[in-house]
């Protein structure tokens, strides 16, 4: 028999979308798209503004994604996962469906929310680096965080704990880093560079270096997020094999 069934993954991803995301994705995409369009039109497509707006939207997306993908934790803790896994879908296909519904579907709608207004208003801008760069970085950050949310769901099996973890990861960690750095600077009298700050926050927000002028950090954050995501993806499959429901 087949080792991996793509049609199972697609079918399950569709159901996950319907159960956990259907309305919320539409509720998220529609206003964000409009907000994005309004902000862009009002501010007139300046490079810095575009980057800022896209970073903001990306952050909102990342938070939503983290909260939605904690739905895996819920399926595991309530026993709903069992309702699927007693049928001919393997544990790996089930987890793969979550990976598709999360990073895949949310990623696609993220791209849509950002690019749709631009394509409508000023299509040629899509080829400007200050437009497509944030899209690429935002997408990679989204994938990175959703995979962390899925891993946390498999390990913690508790929806609210996963949500808390993701929110702390996105919001609390950067603040803690800044506080720690300022304490260090006060106590030791060393002035930590902006570069240090960015390279630390990068672990939580691979998108941040994109806003700076450190081109080496930009590359480093891309490499870091892609490598980390690949490792997380592989680990998720390994965990899936050991999954008990």
């Amino acid at each position: 028999m087949r080792r991996f069934s793509l049609s199972n993954v697609l079918a399950q991803a569709e159901l996950i979308t319907a159960v956990h995301m259907g309305k919320s994705v539409i509720a998220l995409v529609a206003p964000l798209t409009i907000l994005n369009a309004v902000l862009l039109a009002v501010t007139g497509f300046q490079a810095d503004v575009v980057k800022g707006i896209e970073t903001l939207i990306s952050t909102l997306y990342v938070v939503m994604a983290g909260v939605m993908l904690a739905g895996l934790a819920e399926e595991l803790s309530t026993g709903q996962a069992l309702a699927y896994l007693i049928h001919p879908i393997t544990n790996r296909e089930y987890i793969a469906a979550w990976m598709l519904a999360g990073p895949g579907l949310l990623g696609a709608s993220y791209i849509l929310a950002i690019l749709a207004p631009i394509v409508v208003i000023e299509p040629s801008l899509v080829f400007e680096s200050y437009v497509y760069e944030p899209v690429v970085y935002g997408l990679i950050e989204l994938i990175y965080i959703t995979l962390i949310a899925l891993m946390a769901s498999l390990v913690l099996r508790n929806r609210s704990r996963v949500t808390t973890l993701i929110l702390s990861f996105v919001f609390l960690a950067p603040i803690v880093i800044m506080i720690v750095l300022s304490i260090i600077s006060i106590v030791l009298g060393i002035e930590p560079s902006l570069r240090t700050l960015i390279s630390l926050i990068m672990v939580f927000h691979p998108m941040i270096p994109m806003l700076s002028d450190y081109s080496d950090l930009k590359v480093a954050s891309l490499l870091y997020a892609i490598t980390a995501s690949a490792i997380l993806g592989a680990l998720l499959f390994v965990k899936a094999d050991r999954l008990e429901v």
């Binding site: 028999m1 049609s7 159901l15 309702a83 007693i86």
Partner: protein, 310 residues
């Protein structure tokens, strides 16, 4: 069809031992009762059969497949009714079943058929969240029966049902078994109603399978009798004498002027029942019913009286 040998299973990193060396076989085509008290390891064993859990040690084969390594194969020949099923509450009953049909590669017309079979027509287009517990159990049966599986694993299928629905479900299972020739395992601790349908039993207690086999063989082995209570119109002494001449009757106790307690060998019980029916038609016996089912006795003898559930 199913073979467990020396299977161990613990939870919470070994802190809770659920199965401690479970071994048994279930041949193809039987309708087996998986019987044991609360917490004895029934659900754990059933989940191991389809690779929902991973065993610590031992070997499990389901129609020659290892459920851990070949979960797709095992899951596609098996219909499983979970003990405490949780379904996505916002999804419509029929859409959920269409999804399962997709996973099982079953045509959509089968979904309509199964919805009729379990009596869910009225609720087909309603969200699952609104179903009563009894109807949820029907949905559970529907998803388990959808692809006419070779193997049916039913974890307490009559829980949460009213007495009439219980009988309905048991009859449904019985017919399905006959029609499909499926192998069925029903876990339960409600014994009398199971006696009507099963022909094989596995007794589990405290994580150990204490005995298993064909019911008639087990009955012979343990000398289990069915005890009937008869209310009489005629003289209890002469009826008792007549009854004792039957091959299947192993003992008669006279209780007052109008009552008899008759101990009947389970495997030849038909002879006794035919005889009693004759007496009833002639008016000598007013009524009779089973006081203790032999499954009850088997259970007590196999699992141990003080822990048994009547």
């Amino acid at each position: 069809m199913i073979e467990f040998s020396e299977v161990y299973k613990t939870y919470r990193n070994g802190k809770i031992v659920a199965l401690r060396g479970v071994s048994f076989r279930v041949p193809k085509g039987v309708l087996a009762g998986f019987l044991g008290p609360n917490g004895s390891g029934k659900t754990t064993s059933l989940k191991l059969m389809v690779g929902l859990l991973r065993r610590d040690r031992g070997r499990i084969l389901v129609r020659g497949f290892d459920p851990e390594k070949e979960s797709r194969e095992v899951r596609s020949i098996t219909g499983f009714l979970p003990e405490k099923p949780v379904y996505p509450s916002g999804i419509r009953v029929d859409l959920f079943l269409y999804h399962i049909a997709k996973l099982r590669g079953v045509p959509w017309s089968d979904v309509r058929r199964i919805i009729r079979l379990v009596g869910l027509e009225k609720y087909a287009d309603k969200p699952i969240g609104g179903l009563s517990r009894g109807y949820l159990q029907r949905l559970g049966l529907a998803q388990a029966l959808l692809s006419q599986p070779e193997l049916l694993l039913l974890d307490e299928p009559t829980a949460n049902l009213d007495p009439l629905a219980r009988l309905e479900i048991l009859e449904l299972i019985d017919t399905l078994k006959k029609d499909l020739g499926a192998t069925v395992i029903i876990s339960s601790h409600i014994l009398p109603e199971l006696q009507l349908v099963i022909d094989y039993a596995i007794f589990i207690d405290n994580g150990i399978v204490v005995d298993y086999g064909r019911l008639d063989e087990l009955a012979t082995k343990y000398g289990a009798m069915t005890v009937y209570k008869l209310s009489l119109a005629g003289d209890p002494r002469s009826i008792a004498r007549d009854l004792l001449s039957l091959h299947s009757v192993k003992g008669v106790i006279i209780r007052g002027d109008t009552m008899l307690e008759v101990h009947v060998d389970t495997n030849t019980g038909r002879e006794f029942l035919d005889y009693i029916e004759d007496l009833r038609r002639s008016g000598l016996v007013l009524d009779y019913n089973v006081q203790t089912s032999y499954l009850d006795q088997l259970y007590r003898k196999a699992v141990g009286g003080e822990r048994a559930v009547a």
